[in-house]
Amino acid sequence: METIQKRAGEDVSDELSLVQSAKAGDLEAFSELVNRYDRNVFRIAQHITHNEEDAQDVVQDAFLKAYQNLGQFQGNSKFYTWLVRIAVNEALMKLRKRRNEKTVSLDEDVETEEGSIPREVADWSPNPEQIYGQSELGDILRKTIQGLPPGFRTVFVLRDVEGLSTEETAEMLGLSVPAVKSRLLRARLQLRERLTKFFKARKNGDGQGEVH
């Protein structure tokens, strides 16, 4: 089967020289780095915080922090990986603040109600993209992923939406490779389960959920 991995930040040929120039205080070079990755950072921040205002703050704070700390960037990992690590930390801080909790952590390995045993086993047919308009489909996808614990959805977003490798995701989140794999599997299965309920309901025309 063809791999479904997609890479973010493929164009790395001149990236190191941009970083070097920015380190020396060249703002134009840093501006180019912002242009390359602001969309990714915004998406990741939105996924983690679920709040647009917070996500905007995260984008600003993450790039500013990156700029101020460029001297600590060693160049043995990609700039993008380094930047996302900063952004994820900023986003988690926002989430904790918003929830007024100290417990929002990527270490949480919660057992959710659904577990990982597939219950809804029905194919999606016709393709949901043919049934729903883009904004309606967007609402479904947003609501569905928002129900996942932060640790699960962060791993899913970094691996499957942003296309980072398991190793990069592990390094970025301070988790082991098996922990990333385990969370990824459960995130994928839980999203699948929830979407299947939705898309099957729509297919049956009752809009209320599974009826079999």
């Binding site: 840093f30 600003q60 700390n69 967007g138 947003r142 599997l185 994928r188 299947t196």
Partner: protein, 89 residues
């Protein structure tokens, strides 16, 4: 071929590596054989693949251009007042 039959729970455990194409040829062949006769696992594999694709293809948090340029401007203004640290440079 002397492959023991893969059970559904075993298939599920390998699902992530199967979808990512990161299995050895022999393990992949065993799982393909399971998929050949197990309709349920085939559907689960297929809809999990679609789950990943639908999230990848429909970016649900796009950054609107007007907001993007405002953020960009704000970032650059803040950076002008800050200097990159030379530590470890």
């Amino acid at each position: 071929m002397e492959t023991a039959k893969v059970k559904c729970t075993e298939f599920l455990k390998e699902l992530t590596d199967y979808l990512d194409g990161s299995l050895t040829e022999s393990t992949k062949a065993e799982l393909d054989e399971h998929l050949h006769w197990c309709h349920e696992c085939h559907v689960v594999m297929n809809t999990t693949k679609k789950t990943i694709e639908i999230y990848r293809d429909n970016q649900i948090y796009e950054l609107p251009e007007s907001l993007r340029s405002r953020l960009h401007q704000a970032i650059m203004t803040k950076c002008k007042g800050a200097k990159p640290s030379k530590k470890n440079a």
